[in-house]
């Protein structure tokens, strides 16, 4: 359904995406995984035909460069954060995008009810919470029941509760023959939604693996997500490495795989080193049943 052939995107002398080849079949669900700057969002923008690139990308057989409109007819897109006219009402936004997709006037109850936004038709977009905006973006993306869904770190701006709700909404969409391509740096999303994980590093596709192989590579059965202030992240990485763990930087902190019996190990190491931890999550294998907590600064 999505064919990415030798795609390279340069910004000046640097390469944000470098010779990436990836096929996403009908009904497949592929997570793009990587640190900030790995090229996930850039690759998604290429697939949407938003930016020029070297190579070739086809969606449903349509080249996104030369037949972009046709290709995007098959795609529902949810961005990291919905940015649209703040003064627009929810109902107006749905009708507007429905028209752009060449559909009739939608039955708002059904469209908004599907994402839990019933009763919010008359609200202006600026009045919606972050989670509600993402639900609206999902409702808009699903207009016309597109066969491809592309998501770009859709839970990055949500709190833990909102994330769980949104991921469970998305989980309801996967497995219905729909093709999904999504960028994420959250283990639980990858585990819940992906059938394959494409790991990007510095713009290159390093490997494509199953979610289980991916979780195993990250650590053992449990992954601890530590939210650490930016200024202390490098020190936290060094302390965790020194303690025999294998940490990975993600958007707002550090991911570290631990044995189920040693979940407190990273906290102990960081507390001894005086590294502050703002928040944490325990991400269990399979992605279901995350535990959340907040620690005082060590």
């Amino acid at each position: 359904m999505i064919s990415i052939e030798h795609v390279t995107k340069r910004f000046g002398r640097g390469r944000a995406v470098s010779d990436v080849c990836l096929d996403v079949g009908t009904g497949d669900s592929v997570a793009l995984w990587g640190l900030n700057g790995a090229g996930k969002t850039t690759l998604i923008r290429c697939v949407l035909g938003l930016i020029s690139f070297e190579g070739r990308i086809c969606v449903g057989g349509h080249d996104v460069g030369s037949r972009g409109k046709r290709a995007r007819m098959l795609i529902g897109y949810v961005p990291q954060e919905l940015s649209f006219y703040d003064e627009l009402r929810v109902s107006e936004a749905v009708v507007f995008f429905s028209k752009l997709k060449g559909l009739g006037v939608p039955a708002l109850d059904a469209v908004l009810g599907g994402v839990g936004l019933s009763g919010h038709e008359a609200k202006r977009i600026r009045e919606l919470s972050g989670g509600m905006k993402q639900r609206l973006a999902l409702a808009i993306a699903m207009l016309g029941d597109p066969p491809v869904l592309i998501l770009d770190e859709v839970t990055a701006s949500l709190d833990a509760c909102g994330r769980e709700e949104f991921v469970s909404l998305l989980a309801g969409l996967s497995g219905s023959g729909r093709t999904m391509l999504f960028a994420s740096h959250r283990v639980e999303e990858v585990a819940s939604l992906a059938k394959r994980v494409a790991v990007l590093e510095k713009g290159k596709l390093e490997r494509v693996q199953s979610p289980f192989e991916f979780a195993s590579a990250l650590g053992a059965g449990t992954v601890v997500h530590l939210v650490i202030p930016a200024a202390a992240r490098e020190r936290a990485m060094a302390e965790l490495r020194a303690g025999g763990l294998v940490p990975t930087l993600n958007g707002v902190g550090v991911l570290v795989g631990v044995d189920a019996a040693r979940k407190a190990a990273p906290f102990r190491l960081l507390a001894e080193a005086g590294v502050p931890v703002d928040d944490f999550e325990l991400l269990r294998e399979g992605g279901h049943g995350t535990a959340h907590g907040r620690k005082e600064h060590a």
């Binding site: 035909g49 961005p79 649209f84 997709k101 059904a110 599907g114 207009l143 029941d145 219905s176």
Partner: protein, 297 residues
């Protein structure tokens, strides 16, 4: 489950038959959205009030100056109204155009819009026509209110003169809107776009006039050169065309006006129309090319 719920709310065609809407339909959809958004915006209300208020003030002052019973026709206030249009309409159109693409790009709205089955040309034309509609409304409301109050006060108005002025003002607005949209596609940030638009307005309104006078004196330009340089400024084209339409003579402009009348005669309307059309089409085409080549992010 969600898909089924959403799917049931709309009429869709099967996957193999999915055909995106054509250019005209998408342009209509986007322009309708843009027009509704523009007329709700503060800038539209403020510009309309300022335009109507100043127009009314000019008309009433002209009436007083001609002895109270003056203003036998709207034509007597034409000179004042032309100067008002020269000041307000370009500023309004340039700044509205400057915000069209740059602010959407800055807020991520352009990226989201272009992720839908629409082309960049459709987005550009939709935004342009929507803003053009808002500007037309503003001009009609401003001049209409002015003419209406004058008529109500018993100071006769000439409907033809009002229509001519409104039409020419709209032509000028379209030209300036094209320039504003071009600035918007070139600028990286909305603040830079609006700043550049204001600078362009100052240049067109004040600097080019002074520069033309200074150049004519310093370089001892021939009259045809002076006229040629004048028609390169859309504001001068509007001014000359408005005066020409008002009394069929350009004597008031001095030697350049006399030269234009003698040289081009009945072709002056076509010349002015061609110049203004070029100012509408060329910057808009340049904006389309720029938008097609630039990243929307």
């Amino acid at each position: 489950m969600i898909a089924a719920a959403i799917h049931s709310g709309i009429q869709v065609t099967s996957g193999a038959e999915r055909v995106p809407p054509g250019l005209a339909r998408n342009v209509m959809t986007i322009s309708g959205r843009e027009l509704r958004d523009a007329v709700r915006a503060r800038w539209f209300v403020l510009y309309t009030l300022a335009f109507a208020g100043l127009g009314l003030a000019i008309s009433l002052v002209s009436a007083t100056a001609t002895g109270g019973s003056g203003l036998a026709s709207f034509g007597r206030t034409t000179a004042g109204m032309i100067n008002l249009v020269l000041l307000v309409v370009p500023l309004m159109a340039l700044t509205a155009g400057a915000g069209a693409i740059a602010s959407d790009r800055e807020r991520g709205m352009l990226q989201y819009l272009l992720a839908q089955p629409v082309s960049r040309l459709e987005v550009l034309l939709g935004k342009y026509l929507g803003l053009a509609g808002a500007l037309l409304s503003c001009i009609c409301l401003g001049l209409g209110a002015c003419a209406g109050v004058l008529a109500w006060k018993g100071m006769g108005t000439d409907p033809a003169a009002v229509l001519w002025l409104a039409g020419l003002s709209f032509g000028l607005a379209l030209a300036m809107l094209s320039c504003g949209v071009l600035i918007s596609t070139l600028a990286g940030r909305a603040s830079v776009a609006v700043g550049t638009a204001v600078f362009a307005w100052l240049t067109l309104v004040f600097v080019s006039d002074l520069g033309l006078m200074a150049g004519a004196m310093a370089l001892r330009m021939r009259i045809e050169q002076l006229f040629a340089l004048s028609v390169m400024n859309p504001l001068q084209v509007f001014k000359m065309w408005s005066l020409h339409a008002a009394d069929a003579s350009l004597d008031v402009l001095g030697p350049a006006g006399l030269y234009a009348t003698e040289e081009y005669g009945k072709w002056l309307h076509a010349l002015f129309a061609g110049c203004l059309l070029a100012w509408i089409v060329v910057p808009l085409a340049a904006a389309a090319v720029t938008l097609s080549r630039r990243s929307p992010i």
